[in-house]
């Protein structure tokens, strides 16, 4: 019995038809063998077109459907659903990409693009002649989610998931949770302190029995797949008991001979190698910095609660989905970038924010009372070359907000903002207005001619060619220079690499599609939230973390998930277990089976992604990819290479 294939050619409202003559494509393919029906559409994805398609399939008794349109990333599922509603198997559908791969790629050559589209559609028809109905693989999904990173995004996501009655494992590599938010004082727009925000979250976290918190914890191994990820977690030992005698601990800290810069205060202060949490960091406990501790033993002499014999522990977690909230690093300016590291009163915005927190009545830096503050914007953002081309979005408002607080907290502060155009978007504009009204001076440099910070006779100056005053060269003597630094991706990306999460051009973790699937990654079952995805402020991070939570919940809420049956399949009669496919598989989906007479390879269907890496390495051609068999691919190639 000969198959009846229906073919639709979409104009994509001009995206395709501006370059590809869709009517010509239709005319060229309608006489192909097995093509029983063909049509063009303005927007094949529109509701009305979909309805028509259902009717066409039923009225013409079509067996298979091809829509030549955009990338399958956009509408493969849309049209599969159409075929299902029309009573067909969803694998009776094939998506031919004539937009990204044809019309957009060849917008300079209309007749060539049309020819190309004809070939692509004919190849699709050649493939569909062999298409068979398939059933999806259904796997059980554990109603548990691992949240990696316990900053504000991870904590909020964990609470969101717990409220939806999921088991949550909150995994933090540091001994304290709260992330960068714990370091901040008052924040826009509510003027709540970062410390209070984290305290509120921590107290709420404790109320949910279905949240398990692991601190000092690293994921070292990952196996499994959506629905059932198996994570091996290593947990650093705590050398100090959870409920020690506080006075003894204080003595231990006092006698510790090792001092190191305190990262919580961005190295403005120092701490010992044994130290307690800062307010706003949780759990409240004492920890030993193993990197710097010399094991001199002084602390043990004065404190019974310290025990260096404790060892690393490890545990295994099984979860249905993983939510990444691993955050950002503040940009560290290069040596002598705007005088940083060379001129002592040049600091970064995060340092400035800690400085305001640490100085109560007077703002003093290096013994000097600070009056005139220069803020240099876009340090580590909007660079013409290199990786830092992006705008960090939070910094304009954060700098203005910090300058307003400095003005309110200390007397006689004058703020001078050296900007590249102020980007206080949305309601944040009111802070810009407030600071203008209070008399702050805003200057703006050209993108190609940035301000210069220099030192002369122990005095610090900032020079700018100011757009806003008829391009005059202005020089300001500043008591303090604050570099408004950007957010950059974490230097340590080891966990993301373990899960093979892709990065974008900006090196932040990448979502599938900014608007259609903004918190999902290409690895099924793994979502991303907060600043590991790109710069955002805290409200925006929380918004993204709850979006990721609801998506993660949808992977696990039903207890089972449908997976694509497009997987590799090994013919055990031909296979000799040479190991080649096992070595080539990037997902560890191939296992060895030993029988008395022979050994051979089998595919784990729930791990296999159907990537096809194992096929070309097999010396005996024992592997086929379901829906992309050698025969199908060869016939497609024949069709594509025909004149």
């Amino acid at each position: 019995m000969s198959k009846k294939i229906g073919v639709y050619i979409c104009s994509c409202g001009g995206n395709i038809s501006d370059y590809v003559d869709v009517e010509k494509v239709k005319a060229a393919i309608e006489t192909e063998e097995n093509v029983a029906f063909s049509k063009t559409a303005m927007f094949a994805c529109s509701d009305a077109s979909q309805k028509e398609m259902e009717k066409d399939i039923q009225e013409n008794n079509l067996d298979d459907v091809i829509v030549a349109s955009c990338s399958p990333k956009l509408h493969l599922t849309t049209f599969r659903a159409v075929t299902v509603r029309a009573g067909l198997n969803k694998f009776s559908y094939y998506h031919a990409n004539i937009r990204e791969q044809v019309s957009w790629a060849h917008s300079d050559d209309k007749s060539g693009a049309t020819e190309n589209a004809i070939h692509v559609v004919k190849a699709a028809i050649a493939k569909m002649r062999h298409a068979k109905p398939l059933d999806p693989i259904i796997i059980r999904s554990k109603k548990a989610v691992a949240v990696i990173g316990a900053g504000v995004s991870g904590m909020r996501a964990a609470i969101g998931l717990a409220k939806m009655e999921c088991e949550v494992y909150l995994i933090e590599r540091n001994h304290f949770i709260g992330g960068h938010t714990a370091q901040w004082e008052e924040l826009f727009p509510s003027e709540e302190t970062g410390r209070d925000i984290i305290t509120r979250l921590y107290q709420e976290l404790l109320r949910y029995k279905n949240i398990k918190l692991y601190t000092g914890a690293r994921i070292v191994e990952n196996s499994g797949h959506i629905g059932n990820f198996i994570l091996k977690v290593k947990i650093d030992p705590l050398f100090v008991h959870e409920n020690p005698d506080i006075s003894e601990v204080e003595k231990a800290i006092a006698v510790c001979p090792v001092t190191v810069p305190d990262a919580f205060n961005f190295n403005l202060t120092e701490r010992k190698a044994i130290y307690r949490n800062h307010p706003g960091e949780f759990p409240e406990r004492t920890v030993v910095d193993v990197q710097h501790c010399t094991r001199c033993g002084e602390c043990i002499k004065v404190c019974k609660s310290i025990d260096f014999s404790k060892e690393e522990t490890s545990l295994e977690l099984q979860v249905g989905s993983i939510l990444f909230a691993t955050g950002f690093d503040p940009y560290t300016p290069g040596e002598n970038e705007f005088g940083y590291g060379q001129i002592p009163n040049v600091i970064t915005l995060p340092q400035f924010m800690r400085l305001i927190a640490l100085n109560d009545k007077r703002l003093i830096v290096n013994g000097k009372d600070i009056k005139k503050i220069a803020y240099i914007y876009c340090v580590g953002s909007r660079q013409p070359d290199g990786d830092l081309k992006y705008c960090s979005r939070y910094c304009c408002t954060a700098a203005i907000h910090a300058s307003i607080r400095a003005r309110k907290k200390y007397q006689n502060i004058s703020n001078f903002h050296f900007t590249r155009g102020v980007r206080t978007y949305g309601k944040q504009e009111v802070y810009y207005n407030e600071s203008l009204r209070a008399g702050d001076v805003f200057l703006q440099s050209f993108d190609h001619e940035l301000p210069v910070v220099y030192e002369k006779e122990n005095r610090t100056f900032v020079k700018i060619n100011d757009i806003l005053t008829e391009q005059k060269e202005l020089v300001l003597e500043a008591d303090l220079v604050v570099l408004v630094t950007s957010m950059v991706p974490r230097t340590d990306q080891s966990t993301a690499s373990l899960f093979k999460l892709p990065k974008g051009r900006d090196n932040f973790l990448k979502e599938v599609h900014m608007k259609l699937r903004p918190v999902e990654t290409v690895i099924d079952g793994i979502t991303i939230a907060g600043t590991c995805q790109g710069p955002m402020n805290i409200t925006e991070s929380v918004s993204s973390s709850l979006s990721a939570a609801v998506k993660a919940y949808s992977y696990v809420s039903k207890g089972e998930i449908e997976l694509e049956p497009i997987v590799a399949s090994i013919n055990k009669n031909i296979c000799t277990w040479c190991n080649a496919c096992y070595e080539a598989c990037p997902f560890d989906a191939i296992n060895k089976v030993d029988e008395i007479s022979k050994s051979y390879a089998v595919i784990n269907n729930s791990i296999c992604k159907g990537c096809g890496m194992c096929l070309p390495v097999c010396p005996y051609d024992a592997i086929e990819l379901i829906t992309y068999s050698n025969r199908e691919i060869e016939e497609m190639i024949d069709m594509l290479s025909k004149d």
């Binding site: 409202g13 927007f43 529109s46 509603r85 969101g160 900014m514 805290i538 709850l546």
Partner: protein, 433 residues
Amino acid sequence: MHEARSEVEFDALVVGGGIAGCEAALNIANNGYTVLLVEKDLSIGGKMILLSKVFPTLDCGACITTPKVSEIARHTRITILTGSEVGSISESDNHRFKAGIVKHPRYVVDEDCTGCQLCEEACPVNVSDQYQFHLVGRKAAYIPFSIASPRIAAIDMENCTLCGACEKVCPTKCIDFTQEEEHWTVSVKTVVIATGFELFDPLGMPRYGFGLYKNVITSMQMERQLAPTRPFHTVLRPGDGKMPDRIAYVLCTGSRDTSVGNPICSQICCMYSIKQAQLLMGALPMADVTIYYIDIRAFGKGFNEFYEQALGMGVNFVKGKIGKIIEKDNGNLLLRYEDVSTGKLHEAEHDLVVLSVGVLPNKSMQSVFQDLSLLEDTYHFIKQDDPILNPARTSIEGVFVAGTATGPMDIPDSILSAGTASAEAISHIIQSQ
């Protein structure tokens, strides 16, 4: 008037069927809960479905909206009421809300209309088309726009002459002039407000001459001229149908401007103007495009790179706010401004001016809540009760807000905000059980 339908129960009521409302409804329904989506317009999809390509990726707005719209339209757990308004919401027993909904008559039997457009052809009445932002006309019997959902006809009773021409040609006899308002009362566990925003009406700024000078248009009118379902199939200036070759964008029209009562930044206008400029350079390769701005706010992921791309393509950016626009006899326009980089006053001539209008609150929810107080912020957007940690929460427990109902937002942020609102709504449903 029809009798009130007996009380129907849903888990969630989503008010507004734009992109945020659609996303929230889908998230809630996909996790097993029932949703009633109420949209005042004749189609769901909001403003986004009418857009051309969207920044910064330049995929077409319709390509992203239509799959969501169509998924919703067919979802077994989502009920959609278009042409309907939520008249009242009050608290009822067992932690539920009771909502009164009015479904305005469409004068077409939804189930029977096939969208064949014969009524449209037959209708003798021409009026201005609100879905094309008044660039062209439509009939009094009409399908809102080609990718509307549902794609069925409606009769515009304000302009209909009751001539009966449509009734005669309708092959399914689905036109029914006797339809009346329907009143629904529903009981829900949670409410998500996704009522979106209003665009600033530049009639409020006479110095720009909108409404008086024919070649001064709004950015939404330009958007329609660039959309795949565009009315003219090219870009024309309305005054004389000439293809423009010196186009000006006036940023911050109705934003960052206390003189019109809106001090905040609308967050989207810089980017959509930059996007339109890029599209115009494709549509009219010989045209010059100039963007007059105060600051370029290209802050989101990929936005600054998109701005740099426009600079590279030759879009002309001038830092200076337009003070006044004057029309010349030939329909061209003189724009008076201070060029901030030189400090000098200038006058520039353009043949088409696009006003990049800002985002204003939609105040339609103000009077809906009875015995409950839905607070607004200073700018009359819906107030976020706990903006940092619970951005979707309002002043009423169990009522959440998604998208631009809380303030200006771009599409990616609206979608994230809808995710947040749906997470909160699902938690609320579970916790109240």
